[in-house]
């Protein structure tokens, strides 16, 4: 018999008042999500897709406009107290008081959650050791480096021995080394602690590496869900990408349509630059005919690339726009 999912969200809608006569902002637009217990689940999407709002609803911070959600077996609206006892939340900001030491932050959190004096001290020491913060535990929190501080944030989320841990953009702003260290920690969380982790990220690579299951979120809805491999497998074949110079989108579309074997053609034009992205069962074979057809039609082109499907392609297919155009502030996207 399958165990109860750690997270079940059903048709969540969250609107915020637009203010001054502007229409309401619909941050969540019927989001549905199921996360099995003991897995790492990635909520992947560009900035503004609704990832953080989902996290806020599931952590009882925010009340949904409509829809229901259960976390660790309890309803987030009607049994908020029960949910709060069973979760840890690492927000996009920090969660640590900069004026207290890391150890003081951990002890206070333990005491607030009902641990006795010595139990809170023991828990703090255990977490300090586990995250390699022993040397820094009694210094100022404000002086910690970005990566160390993020580790402290995660440790704070674990003080209450939660069943479900929410990590909202845990590696945003970290350097590559610190990011890799954080990835190791997140893997250990699911492996050793049998914890359910809901991870929001706008880094495709992060989701690909860490998540057992993924939900791709766009404009407040889940547009695709599955394991990273399942999602990539829905895209058989290769992706052919051609950079274009001052293209006429209609001409390019007509040219691509006439090349046999090119499917799901998308043409982006941004200023003088453009890009043709198409799916094909055999990429290398179609490079020649595609380029020849473009040249025959007088379209100037730049680099040509053939790639195996990536989550970027999955996103492109389900959200109908490319990752980079949906999320201009994203810097960690490798194509």
């Amino acid at each position: 018999m399958p165990s109860t999912p750690a997270i079940e969200a059903d048709d969540l809608v969250k609107t915020y008042p637009g203010g001054r006569g502007r229409p309401d902002v619909r941050a969540l637009d019927g989001l549905t999500l199921t996360v099995p217990a003991g897995t790492v689940h990635g909520l992947l999407g560009p900035n503004g897709a609704g990832k953080s709002t989902t996290t806020k609803v599931l952590t009882t911070l925010s009340t949904p406009t409509s829809g229901t959600a259960r976390v660790a077996g309890h309803d987030v609206a009607r049994e908020a107290g029960e949910v709060r006892r069973r979760i840890g939340y690492v927000s996009q900001g920090t969660g640590a008081d900069p004026l207290l030491t890391p150890r003081e932050n951990l002890v206070m959190t333990g005491r607030l959650r009902g641990l006795g004096r010595s139990a809170a001290a023991d828990r703090a020491t255990a977490l300090v050791d586990r995250f390699g913060l022993t040397e820094l535990a009694d210094r100022g929190t404000a002086k910690l480096s970005g990566g160390t501080r993020r580790k402290l944030d995660v440790a704070l989320g674990l003080v209450g021995s939660p069943q479900v841990l929410f990590l909202d953009e845990p590696t945003t702003g970290l350097d590559p080394e610190a990011r890799a260290a954080m990835w190791d920690e997140i893997r250990r969380l699911s492996g050793e602690d049998a914890l359910t982790v809901l991870l929001t990220t706008h880094y495709l690579e992060e989701a690909d590496r860490l998540a057992d299951g993924l939900s791709i979120v766009d404009r407040g809805r889940v547009v695709a869900a599955g394991t990273p491999d399942e999602l990539k497998a829905t895209l058989a074949g290769d992706t052919l990408t051609v950079d274009l110079v001052e293209p006429d989108a209609d001409v390019v579309r007509a040219v691509a349509a006439a090349v046999p074997g090119l499917g799901e053609v998308l043409v982006h034009v941004e200023g003088p630059a453009g890009r043709l992205v198409a799916r094909t069962p055999d990429g290398p074979l179609l490079v020649g005919p595609t380029i020849a057809a473009l040249q025959a039609a007088g379209v100037r082109h730049g680099a040509v690339a053939v790639s195996r499907p990536t989550l970027d392609d999955v996103y492109l297919r389900h959200a109908g726009r490319s990752w980079t155009s949906a999320d201009t502030s994203s810097t960690g996207v490798a194509r």
Binding site: K56, L61, S62, G95, D97, L99, T109, R111, R113
Partner: protein, 259 residues
């Protein structure tokens, strides 16, 4: 697993007290400010003591209760900034997603403010005495004066917290506080006895909580204490503080609803 309300209140209070102690600049200003006021106002307005109808022995002894309450007002104006820092840093969200009582989060910070208020009040009395003020009411009078300052602080710090949680903006909080604090100071009997105030100012001063608290301290520290004034003004301050503290709890709920 959940902590009792008392434990949570204690932990939240400790957190803020520790933070306050580790910000020596804030504490330094809190001590230097009353010194400057006592020296400046005490000298600039010295001649007020010679005006017919002043009704007190010397200006400095009259001034100390007013400075005591002004200190409460000017420090209390900043009380809400801690919440804005917490909202901005993410500490608030972490607290609100954990099983911590909302009243404990608000009241723990208030208790810290009241503790600071008492420490500051004692400093003001000491500095006043060093400057030459006489406290005819003795230790009891000083205790009553400090009690009045705590009631005023409870009302004013709660007001600052409520504004902080509703506006969620440092600039707005400081702006609103400044607009309130300066007129409140001059439309009161903190610097000038009521019989020397223009009629309309005297009328406005009657409704000013700063006047209530100052009146308590002035009579409690005078040779013959008017306990009727102490009792009525204390009652008014208790009612006011209760209403504003309740409002600050509502403001915390309103903040969460905005998320």
């Amino acid at each position: 697993m959940s902590a009792t309300f008392a434990t949570q209140l204690d932990q939240v209070t400790r957190r803020w007290v520790t933070g306050a102690i580790r910000q020596p600049w804030g504490l330094g200003v809190a001590i230097v400010q009353p010194v400057i006021w006592i020296v400046l106002f005490g000298n600039v307005f010295q001649s007020v003591g010679q005006v017919p109808g002043f009704g007190h022995d010397d200006y400095l002894s009259f001034l100390v209760p007013g400075i005591l309450m002004m200190t409460v007002l000017y420090s209390g104006a900043w009380a809400g900034t801690g919440f804005i820092d917490d909202i901005r840093s993410g500490v608030m969200d972490r607290m609100l997603s954990s099983p911590v009582s909302r009243p404990a989060l608000v009241l723990g910070q208030l208790v810290q403010q009241l503790l600071i208020c008492v420490v500051q009040g004692v400093m003001v009395l000491v500095i006043g005495a060093l400057a030459g003020a006489h406290y005819a009411g003795g230790v009891l009078g000083m205790a009553v004066a400090l009690g009045a300052s705590v009631l005023l602080a409870a009302a004013f710090c709660s007001l600052s917290a409520a504004v902080a949680l509703l506006a969620r903006d440092q600039t707005a909080l400081i702006g609103i506080s400044t607009i309130v604090v300066l007129p409140a100071t001059f439309l009161s009997t903190a610097l000038m006895p009521v019989q020397l105030l223009p009629d309309w100012v005297a009328t406005a001063a009657k409704f000013n909580p700063l006047t209530w608290a100052t009146s308590i301290a002035q009579t409690a520290m005078s040779p013959d204490v008017d306990w009727g004034v102490v009792a009525t003004r204390s009652a008014w301050l208790v009612v006011l503080a209760t209403i504003v503290a309740w409002w600050s709890l509502r403001a915390m709920r309103s903040y969460q609803r905005s998320l």
